[in-house]
């Protein structure tokens, strides 16, 4: 490589990654300002069960006004499940391993009968999450039998 070309390429090598970042994030920022939607790390449309499974307390509150809080729907929880599963918001809340989320989903209208509670306890048991196990044990501390309960994932 001759000296002249090197003198051209060196500043380019210094600047290129920064220019790429500036263009990517700058244009994404313009989109966020104009359309309230960034181009990078954009919001992913989600159901109320996915909100419950992915710790989105705010979306659970907002969506609960119009969504069926008891209907199982295909639910993505990338941190907990390898594949989407058919879950109710309450089941998704247990899979999230956050006790507060179970309470929130119940407060927002999800029904919890004895059979559903048993399913939830079995899900929590299968995940070995102490927090949700303890939370659900406050609701029903009877001995847990999971025979015949199908874990929905």
């Amino acid at each position: 490589m001759d000296a002249r070309r090197f003198q051209l390429l060196l500043p380019a090598a210094i600047a290129l990654p920064g220019v790429v970042v500036a263009l990517l994030t700058g244009l994404s920022g313009v989109s966020a300002f104009v359309a309230d939607r960034p181009l990078i790390l954009a919001p992913v449309p989600a159901s109320v069960a996915e909100a419950a499974g992915n710790r989105d307390a705010a979306d659970v509150v907002v969506m609960s006004a119009s969504a069926d809080m008891n209907r199982p729907v295909p639910t993505r929880i990338p941190r907990r499940l390898h594949e989407p599963a058919m879950l109710t918001p309450l089941e998704a809340a247990v899979v999230s391993e956050r006790g507060y989320m179970i309470r929130l989903v119940r407060d927002r209208g999800a029904r919890l009968d004895a059979e559903e509670l048993r399913t939830l306890r079995c899900i929590a048991q299968s995940r070995k999450d102490r927090g949700t196990i303890a939370y659900l044990a406050q609701l029903d501390s009877s001995p847990l039998v999971c025979d015949g309960v199908s874990i929905p994932y």
Binding site: G29, F33, V44, A58, I77
Partner: protein, 475 residues
């Protein structure tokens, strides 16, 4: 021809700056007003009948913190929000976004790139500026205004004044900035250190008379704090802080350092000074050296520390050089000396507890010196690199610049994550899930703030793939 090239250069540097500014400010704007550190002060300041009353309220808000400008600016913004139909998020988040953009614009103004090599160096320095963890602290949270960001702006503005040709307007502006900065946050006192460092290095934009006036004002600040308001300094256990690989609670701190506070203070000052050039420790805690989860090793630490070591080595190389043979070494130049002054001053002021945000102004000046160092290194490499080394040098430079760009992209993730968490707070930090920050009977703004936050949908980081937290960390 030369005029056209100069015009193109000007357009390019400001276009680049504008893109970085828009990128950061757009993400900052998406973060809702927080519950923690914001709701209570907003409610309190809103009850103040005037801006002067808010300032007075700020004088007596704490026994250790003298920050009345926090209440004053909050009151001004609240009045603006009331004036346009109680649109609090628009005003407060807009103010934060605008000040974020202003910091980046000021950075370019102070750097003054004058050729293409300098613009390339500026591009690299922008990655360092926005990629440093100290920068994130200025953007992610607000209380409800981010006074650390304001301090960084005041510091850069003071430096810009010192670089100017001076005069009575410059002197008055420097003194006003010092007063406003020191009443915004204790860290604002470093504006005086900037004035002195700039003067010692040969800049005369702030005259000796103005420096004396600032010193008198600093003395007045001490008198106001100690004799007027009977305030005390921070003591051990006032806030949690890191020690070694642990984050110690206030109770732990009192138990371990109650009898030997100097040990904690010395540790915290040294660690605060180290966090800018090394990216570790974070808030006094050596997070990179804590036990790693073998299933998800936080490899971003390697990139953070590695890129910082390279940049710091570059800064040391630059500061040890001389502009002319037998001339003074570059560490005595204005920008490096000011960086050292801000680093030392900010670290000293954070003696009782470490916090990345306190070091954010030092991080800005660090990025400025990186800019100067890269510019000089490029010139040296252009003239001294042998033919056989040119390709390896290019690849190495590209790799280092790419590693910093990875860090800068991490800021975007952290800000989106911050927006998600701030929005969730409006459910989880209020009844029935937590005690309210303000009793319901006194909460005049809270219902509207909650409504605004909940109805601004934000990116859920837990739904994204790949799991970006592994790339850039949780915070």
């Amino acid at each position: 021809m030369e005029a056209a090239a100069a015009g193109l250069l000007k357009v390019e540097k400001w276009l680049l700056t504008a893109l970085f500014a828009i990128a950061v400010s757009a993400s900052v704007f998406r973060i809702p007003i927080q519950v923690s550190d914001s709701d209570e002060i907003l409610e309190g300041v809103d009850r103040a009948p005037s801006v002067v009353a808010a300032f007075t309220q700020g004088l007596h808000a704490s026994r250790t913190m003298l920050r009345p400008m926090r209440q004053t600016v909050t009151k001004l913004l609240l009045e603006a929000a009331h004036g346009i139909g109680d649109r609090y998020n628009l005003v407060f988040r807009g103010f934060h976004a605008a000040t974020a953009a202003l910091l980046i614009l000021l950075f370019t103004y102070v750097a003054r790139p004058r050729d293409w090599t300098a613009v390339a160096a500026l591009c690299f320095a922008m990655l360092v500026l926005t990629g440093l963890h100290t920068f994130g602290g200025m953007m992610r949270e607000a209380y409800p205004i981010n006074h650390f960001l304001l301090i960084a702006i005041y510091c850069l503005a003071a430096f810009a004044i010192a670089e100017s040709s001076g005069g009575i307007v410059a002197d008055v502006a420097a003194c006003v900035i010092f007063v406003v900065a020191s009443l915004t946050l204790e860290s604002g006192l470093v504006v005086l250190a900037i004035g002195i460092a700039a003067y010692v290095s040969g800049l005369r934009g702030i005259s000796r008379g103005a420096l004396i006036a600032m010193a008198v004002l600093a003395a007045g600040y001490v008198v106001l704090r100690v004799a007027g308001l009977h305030m005390i300094g921070n003591t051990v256990g006032e806030r949690q802080t890191g020690f070694g690989t642990d984050m110690l609670s206030t109770a732990d701190l009192r138990a371990r350092f109650g009898g030997t506070p100097w040990l904690l203070y010395a540790y915290t000052i040294v660690c605060s000074a180290l966090t800018v050039p090394l990216s570790q420790p974070v808030a006094g805690q050596w997070t990179a050296f804590a036990p790693w989860d073998p299933d998800a090793p936080p490899l971003f630490f390697l990139n953070d520390i590695g890129t910082s070591l390279v940049a710091t080595a570059l800064v040391i190389w630059y500061m040890s050089r001389r502009a002319v043979p037998d001339g003074p070494r570059r560490w005595r130049d204005a920008a490096p000396l000011t960086m050292l002054a801000v680093l030392a001053g900010s670290a000293t002021l954070s003696y009782a507890y470490a916090k990345s945000e306190i070091m954010s102004a030092a991080g800005v000046f660090y990025a400025l010196v990186v800019y100067l160092a890269v510019r000089e290194l490029a010139q040296v490499l252009m003239t001294h690199t042998s033919a056989s080394l040119r390709v390896p040098v290019l690849l190495l430079v590209l790799a280092i610049s790419s590693a910093w760009s990875f860090r800068a992209m991490g800021l975007q993730y952290r800000l989106q994550r911050g927006a998600f968490e701030a929005r969730s707070e409006w459910v989880l930090r209020l009844p029935p899930y937590s005690n309210p920050p303000v009793p319901a009977a006194e909460a005049r703004l809270t219902p509207r703030l909650r409504d605004e936050a909940l109805h601004r949908g934000r990116t859920n980081p837990y739904l994204l793939w790949p799991p970006y937290a592994r790339l850039w960390g949780e915070n």
